[in-house]
Subunit: 183 residues, 4 copies
Amino acid sequence: MDEFIARGFAATRLDDVASRAGVAKGTIYLHFKDKEALFEELIRTAIVPLVNRLAAGPPSVGGSVRDMIEGFARTFIHEVTTTRRGDIVRLIVAEGPRFPEIADFYYREVVSKGLAGMRAAISLGIARGEIQHKELAQFPQILIAPAMIAVIWQSLFSKHAPLDAIEMFRVHLDLIFGERRTT
Amino acid sequence: MDEFIARGFAATRLDDVASRAGVAKGTIYLHFKDKEALFEELIRTAIVPLVNRLAAGPPSVGGSVRDMIEGFARTFIHEVTTTRRGDIVRLIVAEGPRFPEIADFYYREVVSKGLAGMRAAISLGIARGEIQHKELAQFPQILIAPAMIAVIWQSLFSKHAPLDAIEMFRVHLDLIFGERRTT
Amino acid sequence: MDEFIARGFAATRLDDVASRAGVAKGTIYLHFKDKEALFEELIRTAIVPLVNRLAAGPPSVGGSVRDMIEGFARTFIHEVTTTRRGDIVRLIVAEGPRFPEIADFYYREVVSKGLAGMRAAISLGIARGEIQHKELAQFPQILIAPAMIAVIWQSLFSKHAPLDAIEMFRVHLDLIFGERRTT
Amino acid sequence: MDEFIARGFAATRLDDVASRAGVAKGTIYLHFKDKEALFEELIRTAIVPLVNRLAAGPPSVGGSVRDMIEGFARTFIHEVTTTRRGDIVRLIVAEGPRFPEIADFYYREVVSKGLAGMRAAISLGIARGEIQHKELAQFPQILIAPAMIAVIWQSLFSKHAPLDAIEMFRVHLDLIFGERRTT
DNA sequence: GATGAATGAGGCTTCATTCAT
DNA sequence: AATGAATGAAGCCTCATTCAT
């Protein structure tokens, strides 16, 4: 996975994958049909933790919807900036067009579930009066857009201009939930 | 450029590039040192129109700031969804880590300028009272985040769930400028 | 053996040999030094039945020489067309130049003995007046040539033009023994 | 061709083919799709001379049928023993089952034409009273069987027992045409 | 004795790069 | 300046062989 993240699919050599994995080149072929299968399975298994993150995400319905989303976003951003989860997302963006199955799988397992969760949270926020903009429910993508931008920013531009992703997301939530509260 | 967009840097063959360009393979080497130089120059020249877009962007100071931004965003989204400008952005995201120079160039020529423009527009909006959230000026990224998401969405997930980018951006502007107006 | 016949020496995989034999791949190396040794031993043991056929061939000295040869040829052709004995012969022809030891062994165990037997039978036929062409004793290969041709024909051209090997051989014997008799 | 003859298809290395041809390995792929295509085309082109031999074969209808066949056989045997035409035949026997197209092509271009020629010659011989055994017309294979055997013999057993192919064929013709004449 | 996972040498094939024309 | 045939390094993949269990 590290090799694929660092070089992309085509430029990754199985020699390097093997030696980093501490096995011989041929051993890879005992487990994966070819380089494509290896890549797809790695991405697939890398996506699972993302799913788990989401599944474990919106449990605390006790607090406000904003608390819930903010807590989730904080976890998400933390995960994405400290682990290489973010690079996996970037990798999917990069190789998706050439591996439609991966993009499909990612959509099915992560995106659609995540969006459904966001949509439910937004609806709840609207019902409780926390969110004024009713149309937001139609575009839950807006909710996580800054988090996604942050992921891409970190891997491309952080050396030019560091970005405080969590603070940015807080400001973004201010737009959505109106008055900012102490955090 | 079409070849690089469709396959990424490593998987693109100069054979295909040459035949699509209608020249012999060797001719490429009369103009570019090697494949990397070709790629970097192509991206570089592809970025120029984006810069021009930005430069031509904030002229009409006559209307409201929202009008200005909305007009700009409409042009941007139109550009990005109907031309392959969006794919170039995706390509930069994909190959950026392996071509830091490209990422640098893109940051310098597009991102920093675009952000500066956004920041100026936001400040103007705040000064005029159109924008309530003063902190938005610190994170102009939030302003274009949905447009970026739309770009990625189109190339990865549009077949699963089409996204009305312009409408999404309008909703997003509602969040920023408060009450929605007739558009 | 089936694998070697179907694919030839080089293209045969020990994986397939092992799984067809119902043992693990490593087990092969408990019995044979390497792939070559396996091949040579298999051919060697496959040749033995051919030798036995020959040994059991010319017992019935009661009848005419033609009866003897015809009986033998009938058995031979039957063997060769219904079992894969013929394919072994083809395999030897195919791999002989790269496995001179096999060709030598085959010559020693089958060809030379067979020719000697043929030569003896021909001499007997000449002595008894059944065979007119005395020079045939110098070229016993002529006697079995049609049978060999039939072997090759079956594996290469039978789908284009089926060949009645036994009938062909009978006609061949007519040439040698003169007038044809009821069969 | 020499490499394929010496080693068979599977064991032949394109490295060796290339260096013997005096080109680089990659050059092969400018002319042939892959190793199989190379092999098939080589065999195909090697078969053409055999066809030409046959076409040029039975011209002198002036003499007896035996003269015609004997002249043809002499040419054939000479070709086969002094050039590597014989090895090509052996190669077809060896690889035919794995390259059915080659076997088909060989049957179509050489075998069927050759047999037709033989059959015509035999019929002529019967009509002229030179050949007594009318049934021979049904099995023209018998006519060339010794020549084929000679081909195989030369490449496998000549070091054990040299074979005078031409003399053998003469004896064979004696069987067919009856009384032997001065040659 | 049997296993089968692991090895790594070796072969096929691709493709960026060169260069004689 | 343009060509495109030729090159050969490099990478994917196979499979004979080994060896710890």
